[in-house]
Symmetry: C2
Subunit: 136 residues, 2 copies
DNA sequence: CTTGACCTTTACGTTAACGTCAACTTAATC
DNA sequence: GATTAAGTTGACGTTAACGTAAAGGTCAAG
């Protein structure tokens, strides 16, 4: 069986996700990551790597680092205090609303792209047809 | 029948979309809008207003203004030159890929939110149950 | 005719998210 | 054990997307 590594250097992650180490350290500054240390060296666990994936997904959806921080907090289940749990449920709802709105935007954008492409195809087809009739 | 306006001032649009006039002028700087002028005054048509909506949708999806410019260009059907049309079809495909990727990210994020919320609900339910049994 | 509500351009300021040195330490390799 | 590759902490630089303030033009209402 192929061994999958259990810990990573900052360079490992930078290579894997095509980031600079500067970027990964910046995310730590912003409290998005908290790797262990071996001396001064940063050691990233599988969980850290997963968090980084979450960060990058947030970026692809256009969220800023503060927003991403908020959402990542949701993944750390709270200590079981009622007030905390209720606040969490509220934040989850808010996050879901944002996502559903984005989903709607994407649906409409895709529809419009289809229409535009359709018109393009028709025009291209016409060009080809006319070219052929002229050749003959 | 209620009349819907056919042209808009910069203040009209700012109010409607909750933007500053500075922002709208900035979009013009970046060639995302090209309103008519009455003297020095900017006059926005319905088409301009639609473009602004497209810009804001792009923003909600996390695109920068250059990317938004590219996509908006797709809405201006080209002059019918074959080379142009083909390039356009290619850009449409690229844009669609981006959107589909985002759609996938959102799907996964929503699934994870569901799981997190489920765990929260269970914990809250447990809290309530224990509170009740203690009260009796 | 002046007041107030809008509009204009010009220009400098601000913040997030890094990039880019520099100066140094630690780890791996020949 | 010297070299080289990778990691560390500052600290200053950069760019996009506006904010903000200055200085002024236009036009209807009182």
């Amino acid at each position: 069986m192929s061994e999958s590594p259990t810990e990573f250097s900052i360079g490992d992650l930078a290579r894997e996700f095509d980031l600079t180490t500067r970027t990964i350290r910046y995310y730590e500054d912003k409290l998005l990551l908290k790797p262990e240390r071996r001396g001064k060296q940063r050691i990233y666990s599988k969980a850290d790597r997963t968090r980084l994936k979450l960060i990058l997904r947030g970026k692809r959806l256009g969220w800023n680092l503060d927003e991403i921080f908020e959402v990542i907090q949701l993944y750390n289940s709270p200590d079981g205090e009622k007030r905390q749990l209720e606040l969490m449920v509220k934040k989850i709802g808010h996050s879901r609303t944002t996502l559903l709105d984005q989903q709607e935007d994407i649906k409409m954008a895709l529809q419009e792209l289809d229409e535009i492409e359709e018109r393009c195809s028709v025009q291209l087809q016409q060009l080809i047809t006319h070219a052929n009739t002229q050749e003959v």
